[in-house]
Amino acid sequence: MKRNRAVNILFTFPCVFAFTMIILIPFFYGLFYSMTDWNGVSEDIHFIGFKNFRYLFSSPDFLYSFLITIGYTAINIVLVNVVSFMLSLIVTSRIRFRNFYRAGFFIPYLIGGIVLGYIWQFIFNNALTAIGDSLSIQALQVSFLSKPGTVIWIMSVVNTWQYAGYIMLIYVASIQSIPASLMEAAAVDGANYITRVFKILIPMMANAFTISLFLTLTTSFKQFDMNLTLTNGGPATRFMEMPVKASQLLAMNIFSTATANRMAEAQAKAVVLFVALVVVALIQVSMNKKKEVEM
């Protein structure tokens, strides 16, 4: 048995080593730097306690980014999961070409967020406005990306287009693991399709919902690449009497703070993002877990 233990340690070592070096140590460094005035280069670092955090919660651009990220996440959770659940129902029915549809819906997920952002930017800024101009539809003539009120919704639509196929696969796997006898028995008892979906399918799939909601929640909260290329944070809007960037999500706010050489402040924002994400995700998972059933 002793030899086995040595082997265990040896085999877990690379993983533990990488995790420590890449995640754990930088994390505690990050906590430390968030309480300093470090600019990214200087060796002259001063400890300033929670000053960065106090500043954050009085700066409109950060508060706005925080709120808009919560809004964006809420829209996404609903939109992505509703769409992908409906897609999964479609591709598990007896429809023809269902395997083709499965592959088709999944493909957008394989396109990187950067490329995808540019493609959709072209569609909204050039293609749709050109259609609007030639057909004289006023609503289309000004790009949706330049209206502060719609831009978050547009980002959610694009994110849903990308992400729904992936979540759909999780639902499909879950639907297929439900014994057909259950659905058949319900059908024999006279339950119609809608009733069967709501009374049998959804309760049986509760664990799939847990993981899907968790994934959509965390990815939306951390959204960055598509945000950068699709909207770049623009257009501007007004919040607490100050001009701020209407679609600048938290991750991008952190990024632009860091690239302005305000490393410690950016790090403090990252710590806030981390705490918020952990709290929200824990609440969500524990609530969902209660609804899961054992088979």
Partner: protein, 425 residues
């Protein structure tokens, strides 16, 4: 038995991998020759500077010059920080102003004793010490399409006051169909298109330096203490409003750099708010019409100058053992015919050194060089602002003004508040 063998083999393999990975990072044997490294951010001159570095290495025994380029969309500042943290700080690197100087000052060597210092007005100086080698002169005014203006009966030489601009824009707007233009001006201000810098950096620089002596920083000095010169700013805001009003609205609110420059190159707009760095783009787009620069005349009084500046400076790493060789490389660039040939003919830049007699090919660069020779130009001081002020503070204000152009007072108010916040940044 078999299990034991395979276990031993796999452990052996793993250890082998760990050790190979470890040994990779051992430093190589120190070479006899000096290997100089340079890290720069102008993507458009990458081939030219690589070529010049190779030529310099061949001509200088004992020195090998290697240039690395990261820029355009790349995060140069971030990459440089990563290099310094990794102990691979290059011998020559780039800063873009006082903000950069304050970050990197521990690494920046004193260049006051170099022979090229007397030959330029644009060396970066801090407290009387020369710390940066000017990469080039860049500059801007309001570029115009001479063909369209002459068809509309406008003399570009008359554009020296805000009133003259107002008249010219109105004339152009009334003859849109006949001239085949979408709008008089190609201007960009959107955060979304990544074009905040055209409005909130370059155009705002008119307020900081326009109509003053070339090195007069009084207006921006005041702003850095939190004060806006309201009478002056009111005139500036009216000029900006004028540019916004007569701009192609789609380009203004959404457009990218390509949209803005493309519209001017295709003759869809008569004016372009961009600097001489668009010369290569205009050439690529097959522009054949005559182009010139009119001044950004925002004051009630006459203004005739263009805005000239060095956008970035080369700094020598003072902690590097090769600092002397790095200084020699910069001196050669500024003083030898090969260096001049590289800056002007290969890289297409306007050198900041008076002894250079070669002429750049681009029309806008030539216009700038002529203006530089004539004198009476204005300085560009946005490099003195705290890091992030342009992108994160002024950018959204200008974007919002572009969306609500009628609301001049709101814009002035926003700017007053933003400037008041500068000392705390």
């Amino acid at each position: 038995m078999r299990g034991t063998v395979s276990r031993v083999v796999s452990i052996g393999l793993m250890l082998a991998i760990i050790f190979t990975v470890g040994s990779c990072s051992k430093p190589e044997q120190a070479a006899k020759d000096v290997e100089l490294s340079m890290f720069q951010l102008k993507v458009e001159i990458k081939d030219a500077i690589d070529g010049y570095a190779a030529k310099y290495s061949a001509a200088t025994p004992g020195v090998t010059m290697k240039v690395e380029t990261l820029g355009g969309g790349g995060d140069y500042g971030g990459a440089l920080k990563a290099k310094s943290q990794a102990g691979q700080m290059p011998d020559i690197f780039v800063i873009e102003g006082l903000g950069g100087y304050n970050i990197w000052k521990d690494y920046i060597a004193d260049l006051s004793g170099e022979s090229w210092v007397k030959d330029t007005d644009l060396a970066m100086k801090v407290d009387g010490k020369v710390v940066g080698f000017p990469v080039a002169i860049e500059g801007y005014g309001l570029a115009y399409n001479a063909d369209i203006l002459s068809k509309a009966g406008i003399d570009p030489a008359s554009l020296t006051t805000r009133a003259a601009y107002e008249k010219a824009f109105a004339t152009l707007a009334s003859k849109k169909v006949e001239l085949g233009i979408d709008a008089p001006v190609a201007m960009a201000a959107s955060v979304a298109g990544g074009m905040w810098w055209v409005a909130a950096q370059h155009n705002l620089a008119c307020y900081w330096g326009g109509g003053l002596a070339f090195d007069d920083t009084s207006v921006i000095d005041k702003a850095l203490k939190g004060e806006l010169d309201e009478a002056r700013f009111a005139q500036y805001a009216k000029y900006l409003q004028l540019l916004f009003k007569y701009a192609d609205q789609n380009i203004l609110l959404n457009g990218s750099y390509d949209d803005q420059v493309g519209s001017f190159a295709q003759g869809k707009t008569a004016f372009l708010h961009q600097g001489n760095w668009v010369d290569p783009n205009l050439k690529q787009l097959g522009v054949t019409f005559k182009i010139g620069y009119a001044p950004h005349a925002f004051l009630d009084t006459e203004e005739k100058g263009l805005y000239l500046f060095a956008p970035s400076w080369y700094c020598v790493n003072s902690k590097s053992p090769n600092a002397a060789a790095a200084k020699a490389f910069l001196t050669a660039m500024a003083t030898t015919p090969d260096g001049h040939d590289y800056m002007v003919n290969k890289a297409g830049m306007i050198p900041a050194f008076k002894s250079v007699t070669l002429k750049p090919a681009g029309q806008l660069s030539q216009a700038l060089m002529a203006a530089n020779a004539k004198g009476g130009n204005y300085g560009v001081f946005f490099g003195m602002l705290p890091d992030g002020a342009g992108q994160n503070v002024f950018g959204p204000i200008f974007d919002l003004f572009a969306q609500n152009q009628k609301n001049l007072d709101r814009f002035i108010d926003d700017m007053k508040k933003a400037v008041a916040g500068l000392p705390k940044m």
